[in-house]
Amino acid sequence: MSATASAPVTAISMTVNGKEHSAEVEPRTLLVHFLRDALGLTGTHIGCDTSSCGACVVHLDGDPVKSCTVLAVQADGASITTIEGLAGEDGSLHPVQEGFWEKHGLQCGYCTPGMIMTGAALLERNPHPTEEQIRHELEGNLCRCTGYQNIVRAIQFAAEQSS
């Protein structure tokens, strides 16, 4: 969001996908809007206004967060990874991205970036989750297309890759 004449602004800086960014933002600016509108990282999506859907999940200092529920100023000094920064520099897909492609873990793809970021964070903490654990961990991410079965398979596929 652009600052306006009457609105107070705060200077922030953060590392996003390995790159330093500094900006002045209104204190009320949501992190998701900062990523999408100021940095042009539109892979992080907005699907609700109640922190329910998880389409906006990014990693903040390694933890999955709903970026609609974090103010940009709260991320000052943090390191953020978005879906655009998950693949390797050579373009090689993250195992969870591969899993989603391999197992048809997406249809419309709108929830997918958030799902993948949540799945990747899960495997960081628990490299070999059970089906029940996967389903439990995905409770903050809603998908309307797949019925979740292939999302579970996608994350299982990724877990198998790291074994």
Partner: protein, 794 residues
């Protein structure tokens, strides 16, 4: 002369990974909210907090001078535009369509009705200013229930629709005849069903971005649209009164639709008009989820009374259905066709019912508009007829599987007319899917276990729910569905163009478009096989009115069977022309040329052949063509299907109901579907999964709730229960393949089948578990509280 190539791998039938996915899993896709245009401005609407009220005054003075505000407009500023169109009015009866204007004028009829709009430099500023617009309201009484809305003394929404009645419609046999059959039946059942209101909830909400070009007078509209050409047509011809070619509609990547993105919405016209008012600056509107829930269309919402007559053997001898369909505050684009053609004419399901009649009253209420939502009428029909089968089983003591078997339309009966005005079902083998499902689920064993638990007085009871469904898709023959018959105000054919370029690469443009279904993959598979050109050399273009000649869009599970057939036929035309040219190039008679795996050969000569790429090159350069032949392999088809298609199947749901808590555990969910031939099994299975999840969610979790004043109580994603990963079962899928003869590929459609089948499967399972402990019907969704209350009601 070329070496005969190895036979390429057949693509059709292969579970190919989708070519759409790389951009979607890396954040590279472009959804509407990602579109950024130079100088783009942002619109925010001022909405009614009342379900029914007169607008006494609108004061925009404070808002107009707020930072970044470019303008504030009210309904009077858009009176040069017509109300939105009513494109599908029910056939053969009088309709009373009252459609919304861009902004409400004088009176509002639902919570969320837009009455003013602010345009500002950024979205935050637009919302700030919208909050500062002061509207004075004179609230009026509201009604939210379709049946109550039609009763004497109910608040009246629109002068044009006395008693709030949109239409009254019937199909099937004469009432007297059905009444006589009911009176003569061995067993007579009266029952009441509610098919509750649902909110479609694609994960991507809706929005519009419009840009007016003052130099040419042309508009470009980027929209979340399942039907860009139809939107262009309706906006141009009905709302703006300008030539069609003055509008270009582009649908970017779309985050699901499920029907809700078929319709023409206020914001499309608003952003277009606003861009013109602002001298051509682009205007963006992007609804948030709360706005989506308030003002984007809802689905279902039927109240139904049933009179059932049956023989002691479980045969259904008579069925009388009376349904009140809630259409909400206004007439949405194709709302009237859903509870009539797509519901009433499918109530017979896959059964021979000699005396059947359906009466429908559609009503206005002070709620969000109701229109097509995944399945659109067929889930409501399947819920009725599949509950009827189980009610007959319960009343006669005949096993539910046997009731279905006794009443099934048999394979030799096709084509079969069910007597309710639907097109004849083309093909089917219903018993095959039932047998397969029963065997795989271990039906006999489950029934024994159910009996044992009941006998032992166990706390957790078993329920087995069957749903043998048939649906109608691949809509539709224009002469059937069009104005003189079913009332659809256009044709319903589809177009496709296929070009083989000089380089041998193929570009297909199609009027069908995906919002998650993977058309780019499936269509390329189909073309690759037919042309013998590598899959990677085939590009599918869609979602832009400047691409395909015309398109009726994607809904009604029509993309492959109608849109795909248009592609198939265009490919045939390309091959026919290429054959002529190959004969010329090979100096042979056309009759002596064969075409296989992308190679034209002279019969009996392995030496003499040309690849399709060589022929495409010759066609394109045009140096040496047969007399009278035009250059370029470029063919277009407008395909109007001769019939709809009728996929079917049997789903089985096994639940365990805790009689002390009302909690339900889903133990098994098994589906045997017949969608005809399958192009990509990975994609088809995915469609079935998602369909099951949505239908199951209706039975278990979802329901839009309004209070008596018309306030939407389930107005956000924290109040409306979209199922989570932990709440859904593992789906066991199988299929039978009964190809249809309606189209040359033998394909039917798979997008809605799961949703149509699964709601009654779950409803029957829960009723099967505890039906003997309750009276009447447990209303969906089956929350533990509802189930517990039903069990403990007496």
């Amino acid at each position: 002369m070329v070496a005969a190539p190895e036979a390429p791998e057949r693509m059709v039938g292969k579970a190919l990974k989708r070519r759409e996915d790389p951009r979607l899993i890396t954040g590279g896709a472009q959804f509407l909210d990602d579109v950024k245009l130079p100088g783009m401005t942002h619109a925010a609407f001022v909405r009614s907090p009342h379900a029914h009220a007169r607008i006494a005054s609108i004061d925009a003075s404070a808002a107009s001078s707020m930072p970044g505000v470019l303008g504030v407009f009210a309904g009077d500023d858009f009176m040069d535009l017509n109300p939105l169109p009513a494109a599908w009015q029910a056939g053969g009866v009088t309709n009373h369509p009252v459609t919304p204007r861009v902004l409400a004028v004088g009176e509002v009829h639902q919570v969320g009705d837009p009455v003013a709009v602010v345009v500002a430099e950024d979205a935050y500023q637009a919302r700030d200013a919208a909050q500062a617009v002061i509207v004075t309201w004179d609230p009026l009484p509201a009604v939210v229930d379709a049946k109550k809305a039609t009763e004497a003394g109910a608040p009246q929404l629109h002068e044009e629709a006395p008693n709030n009645i949109v239409l009254e419609w019937s199909c099937g046999k004469e009432a007297d005849r059905v009444d006589a059959a009911l009176a003569a039946a061995d067993v007579r059942i009266s029952h009441h069903l509610i098919n509750q209101r649902l909110i479609p909830t694609p994960m991507e909400p809706r929005g519009s971005i419009a840009r007016f070009d003052p130099a040419t007078g042309d508009y470009t509209l980027w929209a979340t649209s399942q039907a860009p050409h139809v939107h262009r047509l309706l906006l141009a011809a009905f709302v703006f009164g300008i030539p069609e070619q003055k509008i270009r509609v582009i649908a970017p990547d779309m985050g699901g639709g499920f029907g809700a993105k078929i319709f023409v919405y206020y914001d499309m016209a608003a952003t277009m008009a606003l861009s013109k008012k602002l001298g051509g600056r682009p205007v963006k509107f992007w609804e948030d989820r709360s706005e989506n829930y308030m003002t984007t269309t809802h689905g279902r919402d039927h109240i139904t009374d049933l009179e059932i007559g049956a023989g002691k053997d479980g045969s259904i001898t008579a069925l009388k259905v009376k349904t009140w369909a809630n259409l909400g505050a206004y007439f949405s684009t194709i709302a009237a066709g859903i509870p009539t053609t797509l519901y009433g004419r499918m109530v017979a399901g896959c059964y021979k019912i000699p005396n059947i009649r359906v009466d429908v009253v559609a009503a206005y209420t002070n709620t969000a508009m109701v229109d097509a939502y995944r399945g659109a009428g067929r889930p409501e029909a399947a819920y009725v007829i599949e509950r009827v089968c189980d009610l007959v089983a319960q009343a006669t003591g005949v096993d539910p599987a046997e009731v279905r078997r006794r009443n099934f339309i048999q394979p030799e009966d096709f084509p079969y007319d069910t007597g309710v005005g639907m097109l004849p079902y083309d093909s089917g083998n219903y018993e095959l899917t039932l047998d397969k499902a029963l065997e795989q689920v271990g039906y006999t064993g489950l029934r024994q276990e159910q009996k044992r638990r009941r006998g032992a007085g166990e706390r957790k009871l078993l329920g087995i729910g069957l749903s043998s469904y048939v649906e109608v898709c691949g809509v539709a023959p224009s002469k059937w569905i069009g104005l003189p018959g079913e009332g659809w105000g256009a044709g319903l054919w589809e177009s496709a163009n296929v070009k083989v370029h000089l380089t041998g690469k193929v570009v297909v443009t199609t009027g069908s478009l995906p919002h998650g279904q993977g058309h780019e993959t499936s269509f390329a598979q189909l073309v690759s096989d037919r042309l013998g050109i590598p899959y990677d050399d085939i590009e599918i273009e869609h979602s832009d009115t400047q691409a395909a000649p015309f398109g009726f869009g994607s809904y009604g599970s029509r993309s492959l069977s109608v849109g795909g057939t248009a592609i198939y036929k265009s490919v045939d035309k390309v091959v026919t022309k290429a054959m002529k040219l190959a004969a010329h190039m090979l100096e042979a008679a056309e009759d002596d040329i064969t075409f296989e795996n992308g190679v034209f050969s002279v019969k009996g000569s392995s030496e003499s052949s040309k690849t399709i790429q060589e022929v495409a090159l010759a066609a394109h350069v045009g140096y040496d063509l047969p007399e009278g032949m035009e250059p370029f392999l470029d063919e277009t088809t407008y395909y109007d299907p001769p019939n709809c298609t009728f996929p079917f199947g049997t789903h089985v749901c096994v639940v365990e109901v805790d009689t002390e808590t009302g909690g339900i555990d889903m133990l098994r969910y098994l589906a045997v579907d017949d969608v005809g031939n399958v192009v990509n099994p990975l994609i088809v299975d995915g469609q079935i999964h998602g369909g099951i999840a949505q239908g199951l969610a209706q039975a278990m979790f979802e329901g839009a709730v309004y209070d008596d004043d018309g306030q939407l109580l389930t107005g956000t994603l924290s109040d409306y229960a979209i199922p989570k990963a932990s709440q859904l079962p593992w789906y066991e899928l199988d299929r039978t393949v009964t190809p249809t003869s309606v189209n040359p590929m033998g394909v039917k459609g798979a997008g809605e089948a799961g949703t149509i089948a699964s709601t009654p499967a779950v409803a029957n399972a829960v009723n099967d578990a505890v039906g003997h402990l309750i009276s009447g019907e447990i209303a969906m969704p089956f929350t533990p509280e509802r189930v517990w209350r039903a069990i403990n009601a007496h």
